[in-house]
Subunit: 191 residues, 2 copies
Amino acid sequence: MARHRDYTKIEQIFESTLKLVLEKGFAGLKMAEVAKEANLATGTVYIYFKDKDDLINQLYLFLKRRKTILFLQGIDQKEDFDLVLKKIWFAYFEVTMQHVNESAFLEQYYRSPFLKSNVKEESKQILKPIYDLLERGVKEGKLHSVNVEILLSQIVGPIHEMIRAYHDGAVEINAETMNQLYQLVMRGIKA
Amino acid sequence: MARHRDYTKIEQIFESTLKLVLEKGFAGLKMAEVAKEANLATGTVYIYFKDKDDLINQLYLFLKRRKTILFLQGIDQKEDFDLVLKKIWFAYFEVTMQHVNESAFLEQYYRSPFLKSNVKEESKQILKPIYDLLERGVKEGKLHSVNVEILLSQIVGPIHEMIRAYHDGAVEINAETMNQLYQLVMRGIKA
DNA sequence: AAAATTAATGAACAATTATTCAATCATCCA
DNA sequence: TGGATGATTGAATAATTGTTCATTAATTTT
């Protein structure tokens, strides 16, 4: 054995890539710039990633997984339905907010043909806990009995839209505005 | 005067560009392919557009304007509030649906740094009629009195989300599902 | 401490692709 | 009809940028 790979470099590269994609988009992403931003030589990036395509797909998965973990922290599906729903709604909002940049990347990527189908599959899993919860709500008669996808649209749609508005500087987000939106959404779906 | 420019070529070029962007994303868009797809020589594209960047920005505006026009057809703000709201909600849904591809392009572009700020400004105008209507609704006491951005998030967010789900093959969209979503949304915002 | 091994470097190279432009073609006007 | 004008062409060129690899540096083992 000799010198070891320094796997912390992978995260450095991820951070640099994320930063550059957000600044200049996929089309403007250059491997040389990624390396420079991460204080590495161009060739080093190729030690840790097969090629540019691989780098972008890995980054997507990395961010998606990180978001999922954050988002599920402290959620216990065994608790009272209304409480879990509230917790999960706010958790989703807050995590998406606190990682606006990552979320923007994920959205941009989701719409792009870089996305490999297996990656897309994994990415759907993030909403699974919400999905399950909604089914439970319908069964328990706590939610209106419509297709779960419809309920889901009503739940995460406004969050995404509000964050987009925030991103455009059109609205402020604080405890009050979050609560107001929550009230509107719940009034809609609760039976 | 001699031979005239054939401005119908512009639309040919737009259609080709749209098709290719949807297939391969911004990063994969090649001027030579755009030209070929439009049955033109590469150089011809440069007669009608300054460069690649110009082409993409023009395309964005073209699609945005087309969508706006379609979407506002048959809306008369002088009619009864509830009726206008219903018409406008369904019109927005249907136009977004019937032009899923264009909408996907617009979303992808919106998140990308290609977007010039003046273009972004113009693009905000598309929601102006909904915006105005919501303000009227609040004044007339027909809607809950919260920030209009919050109401807007609740109105268009679920539509975008549902269409995304449809795009992923997760849900069917028909008169019934549309109506169900409409009921949920309205139950939330109406006073 | 020196040899062995592998990471890291970054200039050079190979592809790829945007853009140009000399030559050609189509249309208009006298 | 013929010359003038400007549109169109697409191969050639200019840029850009992904990837490689000979060389150097760092770490481990003997």
